[in-house]
C-alpha cells in the first residue's frame, strides 16, 4: 500500500476467458471498501470470444473517466505476455509491470506457421517502455492453490503486495469474500495469498 495518492491507474490485459473482469472487479471493490472513489471499465460481447480483453481500474477522488490515458498507468497487469505488449502504450518509466508468463498463442500464429516470440524478445520490448517488471509463474501458483483457473487471483495477490495500490491487503480478502462463490472461496484466498507472498519477495 502506498502512502499518499492523488490518482492510481491500473490496466489489466489478457485474453477472453482468463478472468480479467473478475480480477478488475475484485480490485475495484477492494478500493471502494477502502473508502476510495473508483471506476472500473469493461468491454463485453465480441471481445470475450478468445479475443484480447482490457479492463481499466482507476482509483482517486477526481477520477471520472473510465479509461486510462496513454503513458499514465501506475501498474500494467499482463495476464498474457503478448497482451502485455499490446497495452504498453499505457505504461511509462514509472509504471510497474506485473506479468504472467502464461502463453496463449493467437490462432494467427498457427495459421501462419509462426512461433510465439521468445521471452527475451518480449522482455526487451517491455523494457523500452517500463523499467520495473515482475514476471509471475501464475500457473504454478494457481495449481498450488487448487486450480489453474485461479491465475487471475494470483496476479491480484501480486498486485496487492506492490507499493502502488492504496488499498490494504485485508480489503482484497473482503472483496474476494463478497465476489467469489462460497465453494471456490478457499481456493481463491489461497491463490491470493500465494500471489501476495510472491509479490512481497519482489519488493
Amino acid at each position: 500500500m502506498c502512502i499518499s495518492l492523488k490518482e492510481c491507474n491500473v490496466v489489466l490485459a489478457g485474453v477472453g476467458g482468463q478472468g480479467i473482469l473478475l480480477a478488475a472487479e475484485v480490485l475495484g471493490t477492494a478500493a471502494m471498501k477502502e473508502g476510495l472513489n473508483v471506476r472500473v471499465s469493461e468491454i463485453h460481447g465480441m471481445a470475450q470470444r478468445g479475443g484480447a480483453v482490457v479492463s481499466n481500474v482507476r482509483i482517486g477522488d477526481k477520477v471520472m473517466a473510465p479509461t486510462v490515458l496513454e503513458g499514465q498507468a501506475d501498474v500494467l497487469v499482463g495476464f498474457e505476455p503478448l497482451e502485455t505488449l499490446r497495452n504498453l502504450r499505457f505504461s511509462s518509466k514509472k509504471t510497474l509491470v506485473i506479468m504472467s508468463d502464461e502463453q496463449i498463442p493467437p490462432t494467427e500464429l498457427a495459421a501462419k506457421m509462426k512461433k510465439y516470440p521468445s521471452m527475451e524478445e518480449i522482455m526487451e520490448k517491455i523494457h523500452r517502455f517500463a523499467e520495473k517488471i515482475t514476471v509471475v509463474d501464475t500457473r504454478k501458483l494457481a495449481k498450488e492453490a487448487g486450480s489453474a483457473l485461479a491465475q487471475n487471483i494470483v496476479l491480484i495477490g501480486v498486485l496487492a503486495a506492490s507499493d502502488r495500490i492504496p488499498v490494504k491487503v485485508e480489503r482484497f480478502r473482503e472483496a474476494l469474500q463478497e465476489l467469489v462463490p462460497a465453494k471456490y472461496l478457499e481456493m481463491n484466498l489461497k491463490a491470493f495469498n500465494l500471489g501476495l507472498e510472491h509479490g512481497k519477495k519482489q519488493t
Binding site: A47, A65, T107, L109
Partner: protein
C-alpha cells in the same frame, strides 16, 4: 464415430414431393432434440442478489447496467422486457435473476418491438414498465415507439437504449439521441452508475407526469463501467393494473392521431420546463476563467472534466443530464455569460446543432466550437481524455502536457510485429463444424449472406463463411435478392435467437415468392454472444419457468418450406449429404444445425460431474496440418513444428478427428 453431444434422430419419413402444389402441412422431421442448458447455475460471475439489499445509503460498486436494474427496484417498476444486446444485456439479465424474489414480471421478448409492445401494453394499464435494448434494437422498436408517443402511457414507461460508440460489439455507431428529437420524447443521459440508477427513477416520474414514454440513453462506457452507487429505498413493485377503454386516446386512426400530435408537442413544452429546473442540468464545475464555457453530457462529460484538469483549464462546465428537450433558457444564459463555448459530445453534433440554434436567439455573437464548422473532436468513434484534451488544447491554444506522438511512435514499433487476436469461435463450438461443412459443400462459388451473433465469427479464415452482414434477420431476405441477381447457390446463415427475432418474415417471403435459397439455422440452443440468455427455442422464460419449446423446423414447415432437415453438425457425413440435397432443391430449404453452445455444454458437464473428453494427436500424424488449415480451432497449436492439441482448451468435440485424413487424432477421457 463417438458422439460427444446428444443424439438427434433424423426423420426417415422425410419424403416430400416438391412439385405437389396441394402441400398440406405435416410433420416432416421428427426431432428428438438436444436439451438446452439454460440455467442460472451455469452463470460464472457473482449473483445479482446484491441488488436486492434493502440498505438505504449502502455503497456498492455496480456496472451502469446493474445500477439501472437497482433503479428498477427503487422505482417500483413491475414489468421489465428486453431483447439481449451488448451493451444493454446486463439490465435484463440482472432482473431475470431476481425477478421472482423482487415480485417483478420480467421477460426476454422475441425482439425489441415485441418488448416495447408488451411493456407499452402494461404501461397502458397503469403499471410501471421498462424495456432495455441496444441502440440498433430501437430501430426495430421504432414503429411502436413513434406512435406510443401519441397514445401515451398511464404507468411510467422507460425505454433504455444503450449506444455503442466505437462499435465495440455492434454493426454501427448510430446516435440514438436523434430518436428523442424524432419522437418528441424526453431523453435522459447518465454519465456514471449512480446517475444511471437515479435517472431511471426520474425517468419513470417524468413519464408518469407527462404520460409519455421516456428514453434513457447510455453508452458502452456508461453501461459497462463500474462505479460506486449509493442505494436508495426499495419500492414495492406493482404488476397489476387496469385497462381503461378510451378509443380517442388509444386507437390511432387518422381522426384520433391528428389531435394527438399537438398534444404531444404540448407535452414536449412541459418537458422543456422540467428540463430547465432538473437537477441533472447544472453547472458541474465553476471555473475561474469566465470567458470559456464547456457544455457536455453523458460519458463525454467525464472526459471533458478530466481533460480540462489535465490542461489546467479552469472553466465553467455545464453538464446536461436531460438532453431532450434541452433547457433553452439555461443554455441561453450560459451562452450569454461566456465569449467562447466548447461543446464536447460523443458521436453526432446533436447538442451542438441545437445549441447553435439557441445561440441565434439568445447570444448571436458567442463563438461555438465542437465538431461542426471545424472538427475539433471526432464525429466517429468513442471519445477519450486524450481526444478531448487534444480538441480543447487546439481551441484554447494550450499546450498538451503529454507527448502523445512520441508514445504512438514507440508503440507503433511494438504493435507492428504483434500477431492480432480477434475474437474467434471457441474450441468445440458447433458453428465451426457447420461452417466447415457449409464451405466444403458450397465451395468458393456459393454466396453466404450471414447474420448477427457468434456465427458472424465464421467470416475469419480458414472457415471464410460470410459475404454480407447488415442487421438482425437480414441474411434470409438478402439471400433472396442475391440469388435472383446472380443465380448462384446462396446459403443464408442465421442463428436460432436471430431466427425468432427477425428472420421469419424473410422466410415467408422466400416461400411465397419461391426463392431458391438454403437457410442454414445455426441452432446452439441459446443466445450465446450476449451471455447465454434463453429464447423461444429453449423452453425457459426470463422468470426461470418452463415453457413450450418452439422449434425452428416446425416454424419452417408452418411457413410452407418443403425441404426442412435437422442435423447434428458433428455428424459430418450425414450433414454433407443433406447440404448437397438442399442445394439441389427447387425452392427454399431450411437446415437446422443443432448442437449446444460448447461453453454451456462444458459448464453443464462440469457441474454434473459428467464425462469430460479431450482429443490427442497420435504418432500417426504426418504433419500435413489439415486440422490447422481447415478448422482454425484455438485448441490446435503448433509446438516445435508439430500440430498439438492444448488439453486445457480442447473440449473433445471431435471435429478434428473427423477431418484428419490419417486418422491420427483420438479421444481421451479426462476424468
Amino acid at each position: 464415430m463417438y458422439q460427444n453431444f446428444a443424439i438427434i434422430i433424423l426423420s426417415v419419413t422425410a419424403y416430400l414431393n416438391q412439385y405437389n402444389t396441394s402441400f398440406k402441412p405435416k410433420l416432416i422431421c421428427e426431432t428428438l432434440t438436444v436439451k438446452p442448458f439454460y440455467s442460472l447455475e451455469n452463470k460464472i460471475l457473482p449473483d445479482s442478489h446484491i441488488l436486492l439489499k434493502d440498505k438505504l445509503g449502502e455503497q456498492v460498486l455496480l456496472l451502469g447496467n446493474e445500477a439501472i436494474a437497482r433503479g428498477i427496484l427503487e422505482a417500483g417498476i413491475g414489468v421489465v422486457t428486453t431483447y439481449p444486446g451488448t451493451p444493454a444485456s446486463e439490465i435484463g439479465d440482472s432482473i431475470a435473476e431476481i425477478a421472482k424474489e423482487a415480485g417483478i414480471y420480467m421477460e426476454y421478448s422475441t425482439n425489441e418491438i415485441v418488448a416495447t409492445e408488451v411493456a407499452g401494453g402494461a404501461a397502458n394499464c397503469g403499471v410501471r414498465a421498462l424495456s432495455a435494448m441496444k441502440h440498433v434494437g430501437l430501430n426495430v422498436a421504432a414503429d411502436m415507439v413513434m406512435t406510443l408517443a401519441y397514445t401515451g402511457v398511464r404507468g411510467g414507461y422507460v425505454i433504455v437504449t444503450a449506444d455503442d460508440p466505437e462499435c465495440y460489439s455492434s454493426q454501427n455507431e448510430q446516435d440514438n439521441r436523434y430518436y428523442a428529437l424524432l419522437s418528441n420524447l424526453p431523453c435522459l443521459e447518465p454519465s456514471n452508475a449512480q446517475e444511471a440508477k437515479d435517472m431511471t427513477i426520474t425517468a419513470i416520474e417524468i413519464s408518469e407526469k407527462l404520460e409519455i414514454p421516456v428514453i434513457l440513453r447510455t453508452t458502452t462506457r456508461v453501461s459497462h463501467t463500474r462505479s460506486p452507487v449509493k442505494y436508495g429505498k426499495l419500492a414495492k413493485p406493482h404488476t397489476k393494473g387496469e385497462f381503461i377503454r378510451d378509443v380517442k386516446r388509444l386507437i390511432m386512426v387518422p381522426a384520433n392521431s391528428r389531435p394527438k400530435h399537438p398534444m404531444l408537442l404540448k407535452k414536449a413544452e412541459i418537458a422543456k420546463e422540467i428540463s430547465e429546473t432538473s437537477p441533472y442540468n447544472k453547472i458541474a464545475h465553476e471555473g475561474k476563467n469566465k470567458q470559456i464555457g464547456i457544455i457536455s453530457s453523458s460519458a463525454a462529460y467525464n472526459y471533458a472534466e478530466e481533460a480540462s484538469e489535465l490542461l489546467g483549464l479552469d472553466v465553467d462546465i455545464l453538464k446536461l443530464g436531460v438532453t431532450h428537450p434541452l433547457p433553452e433558457k439555461m443554455i441561453g444564459k450560459f451562452l450569454k455569460s461566456h465569449e467562447k463555448i466548447i461543446v464536447v459530445e460523443e458521436l453526432e453534433p446533436y447538442l451542438e446543432m441545437q445549441i447553435k440554434a439557441i445561440a441565434k436567439d439568445h447570444a448571436p455573437n458567442v463563438e461555438i466550437h465542437g465538431k461542426m464548422t471545424i472538427a475539433h473532436f471526432p464525429r466517429d468513434g468513442e471519445l477519450s481524455i486524450r481526444t478531448v484534451a487534444i480538441g480543447l488544447a487546439k481551441i484554447t491554444a494550450k499546450k498538451l502536457p503529454i507527448d502523445f506522438t512520441k508514445i504512438d511512435e514507440e508503440f507503433a514499433k511494438i504493435v507492428k510485429e504483434l500477431p492480432s487476436r480477434p475474437p474467434i469461435l471457441c474450441a468445440g463450438c458447433p458453428h465451426r463444424a457447420s461452417f466447415y461443412l457449409i464451405r466444403k459443400v458450397g465451395g468458393e462459388k456459393a454466396l453466404y449472406p450471414t447474420d448477427i451473433g457468434c456465427y458472424a465469427l465464421g467470416i475469419a479464415p480458414p472457415l471464410n463463411v460470410g459475404d454480407i452482414m447488415i442487421c438482425m434477420g437480414a441474411s434470409v431476405g438478402m439471400a433472396q435478392g442475391i440469388n435472383r441477381a446472380t443465380d448462384k447457390d446462396t446459403i443464408a446463415i442465421v442463428g436460432d435467437s436471430t431466427f425468432f427475432h427477425a428472420a421469419i418474415p424473410g422466410l415467408v417471403n422466400a416461400v411465397y415468392n419461391n426463392s431458391k435459397i438454403v437457410v442454414a439455422v445455426l441452432d446452439n440452443l441459446t443466445t450465446a454472444m450476449t451471455g447465454h440468455q434463453p429464447h423461444p427455442g429453449t423452453g425457459k422464460t426470463g422468470m426461470q419457468t418452463p415453457s413450450e419449446r418452439i422449434l425452428v423446423e416446425k416454424i419452417a414447415e408452418g411457413c410452407g418450406v418443403k425441404y426442412v432437415k435437422v442435423v447434428d453438425p458433428f455428424k459430418t457425413k450425414e450433414t454433407e449429404t443433406i447440404l448437397k440435397e438442399a442445394l439441389k432443391h427447387e425452392g427454399p430449404s431450411v437446415i437446422v444445425f443443432r448442437a449446444p453452445c460448447a461453453l454451456l455444454a462444458v459448464r453443464e458437464k462440469r457441474r454434473k460431474g459428467l464425462e469430460l473428453l479431450t482429443c490427442r494427436i497420435t504418432e500417426k500424424c504426418t504433419n500435413c496440418m489439415a486440422c490447422i488449415k481447415l478448422l482454425g480451432c484455438p485448441a490446435i497449436v503448433i509446438e516445435e513444428g508439430k500440430a498439438q492439441i492444448n488439453e486445457a482448451l480442447c473440449v473433445g468435440c471431435g471435429l478434428c478427428v473427423s477431418v484428419c485424413p490419417y486418422k491420427a487424432i483420438e479421444y481421451v477421457r479426462l476424468n
